[in-house]
Symmetry: none
Subunit: 412 residues, 2 copies
């Protein structure tokens, strides 16, 4: 089975929004053994979409469409699919009841517009939307199966995981088992050089990698006769990859750095406090993003001004005067200060220049110091990061978490 992905939306084809659904879905499809041959992106034009659907359905066996199933007149996917199949739209009473229930639960009146979301091409099967009013549907078209989902990425991903992926995975013969080994701290080309034999084209399991925001995930996909065999193959590759890559590996199967840190803290019953300057709350936000983080996370202080660093964290004013607020010394004092005041086992801190302004020849934009403290030791790391403000802040958070993971937390 081969797939095509169609993204619908004038805001996509005009470039106002960059489509990320097609790439995401192609990765997911690859994960269950279905290669994608083409992406199409079209505007809110019924005729163009109907024609694109017809062509795609002649070329491949699976056509996945996202977008254009909202309640407004420019949501044309339902009509375009009906037109391509030469059928009418028909009311689905179950879908209508679901929309009515949602509005009732929100205490809001349902508008007439929303009724159109309960109409689907005749012969199609409704796919429930676990979160919103936009139900999806699947229908046959030429020799293909067409699957339509919402365009909003979060809604689409929920629907995919709950109601689309499982059935598709079953329909592919044999078992495809996937996994990943998740790394931080080295470049993609360094990592792939270590794994070049595993990444050889045609090898089974297939090994590849994706890099996103400095997290490298080495992906493993095993085609096997059954799930148990597939899992054994994936586990064997994971062990080999871990052995070769060493301590840059922080987790498996899509783990996050903060997830790895919270897991290690919780497992050992230890606590964490955070003091931030340039990351402005992002380290605390990352840690508390993990469900159950309250078991280990005590408090976070975002101290932007020097005055706040002194008053809230107990940093000595002379230290700031002597070394500057962006310095290894101040990073260490911030971590030690918040650790002592919070009574935490560990603490993390950041201070730096995220840009776009504020840089000097000596300390250019991207100069960041992070520190990790325990009762026994404080380790610091100086970074020279490239990229825009968001990138500098993101990488600072990751280096801070990684410093704790490899330093005080590893030695606990």
């Amino acid at each position: 089975m081969k797939a095509a992905v169609i993204s619908v939306g004038s805001e996509l084809v005009s470039g106002e929004l960059t489509d990320t659904n097609a790439a995401w879905l192609s990765r997911e499809l690859a994960g269950i053994g279905i290669p994608t041959l083409r992406h199409f992106c079209v505007g809110d034009d019924e005729e163009v979409l109907a024609e694109t659907l017809t062509r795609a359905a002649r070329a491949v066996e699976l056509v996945v469409v996202t977008g254009g199933i909202g309640p407004t007149p420019d949501d044309i996917t339902r009509r375009a699919a009906a037109r391509a199949a030469g059928v009418e739209l028909a009311l689905d009473r179950g879908a209508l009841a679901h929309i009515e229930e949602l509005f009732a639960s929100w205490g809001r009146e349902m508008s007439e517009n929303n009724r159109v979301q309960a109409f689907f091409p005749e012969g199609s099967e409704v796919i429930e939307n676990p979160r919103g009013t936009a139900a999806g549907f699947r229908m046959p078209l030429a020799r293909a199966q067409v699957i339509v989902m919402p365009g909003v990425p979060a809604e689409m991903k929920l629907m995919w995981a709950a109601n689309v992926r499982p059935r598709l995975a079953q329909s592919v013969s044999g078992a495809v088992v996937t996994g990943s080994v998740d790394c931080f701290g080295r470049g993609e080309s360094d990592i792939t050089r270590e794994l070049v034999d595993l990444m050889a084209p045609g090898r089974n399991p297939a090994v590849g990698d994706t890099a996103e925001d400095a997290i490298i995930r080495v992906r493993i996909r095993a085609a096997a006769r059954n799930p148990a065999e597939g899992r054994r193959m994936v586990e064997a590759d994971k062990a080999e990859i871990r052995r070769r890559l060493g301590d840059i590996v922080f987790g498996e199967d899509g783990q996050t750095l903060q997830g790895a840190v919270v897991e290690a803290l919780t497992a050992s019953g230890k606590t964490l406090a955070v003091a931030e300057s340039c990351t402005g709350g992002l380290i605390a936000a990352a840690v508390t993003d993990v469900p159950g983080a309250s078991a280990c996370f005590l408090e976070g202080i975002t101290a932007y001004s020097n005055e706040a660093k002194v008053r809230l964290l107990g940093v000595a004013p002379q230290l700031i005067e002597r070394h500057g607020a962006v310095s290894e010394e101040v990073a260490a004092a911030m971590a030690e200060g918040v650790r002592a005041r919070a009574g935490a086992d560990f603490a993390l801190s950041s201070t730096g220049i995220a840009g776009p302004s504020g840089g000097t020849p000596e300390k250019p934009v991207g100069t960041v110091y992070v520190a990790a403290a325990s009762a026994e030791t404080t380790v610091t790391r100086g970074l020279r990061l490239r990229g825009d403000r968001a990138t500098v802040r993101d990488r600072s958070v990751k280096h801070a978490l990684n410093l704790l993971r490899l330093g005080p937390l590893a030695r606990k």
Copy 2:
């Protein structure tokens, strides 16, 4: 003139890389008055690309292709374009000399592979690459002009700006001007109901909307004889949309809620402090995401435990005992506490149950209180949010920022 954009690369269609060229080019094309009707993304397959080129060239007058013009065998765009046009590839001596010069200037030997980069479809015109060895080309195909550029975004953008955009802009009459009115606080269908006449199909300017993470952007696109006329048309629609939607409008042209808040604070020389529980640093992170936020943002406290709320924010322990940590009263006390201690003009706070666990029948997951305080007043808002942990936290941040925007900050 209307355009289609084709992105070539197996790493794109497999989802390993997300294509950003198509959206970028469509924005650029819109800027010179050329609307894009379709995007296509295909792998490194000569036959599929040749067929896609042929179809695109029948549908529109301009086909812009990126990718597949490197030196390796899987770079198939030159061959595919020749195949689509029914011509052979021919050596361009000027292009060859340019490649040889580049290698000489790098002090590296030119491989035989790189010679293929000097071959182009007969009848095409070479487009110089200001930076690399991959020259582009333009050629006629059916009723269309085809323009081929490198896939690497930085190289493509240089070539576009230097050697493609200027000539295209000259050939086009008219201009397309876009803008948006950015809203928070009401549902998408509520908003579109107010604007149904403006959103009528075929109207110029075209008005549509996109919703992402509860931010609704009403998008305006005007086709005009010249940029000045287009801007006037967009401004007139913006004014009308603002008039109808009232205070749910927080900005224009892709503004963020935190951007609007920081702008208002900075303009009036006021300062902000933040006290967070369930949002765990995300309010501070959102505010400090805005470049220049240090002018108004003093400090943020993430106080997860009751003990921290008492020690760091001065919340009275009896208040927590009487009403619970997740309560309107504690939210107000947190905001007032951090405001007083930081000496800030304004303060924001959050306390709630982000889930997935921690809910009770009385206070289910999604129960959140936010507060905004000034010297004169404290306003609070109780929320019952739906969705997963990330959604509850995200919406809490937005409601907190919006409470400040519409409450104390509006009355300043």
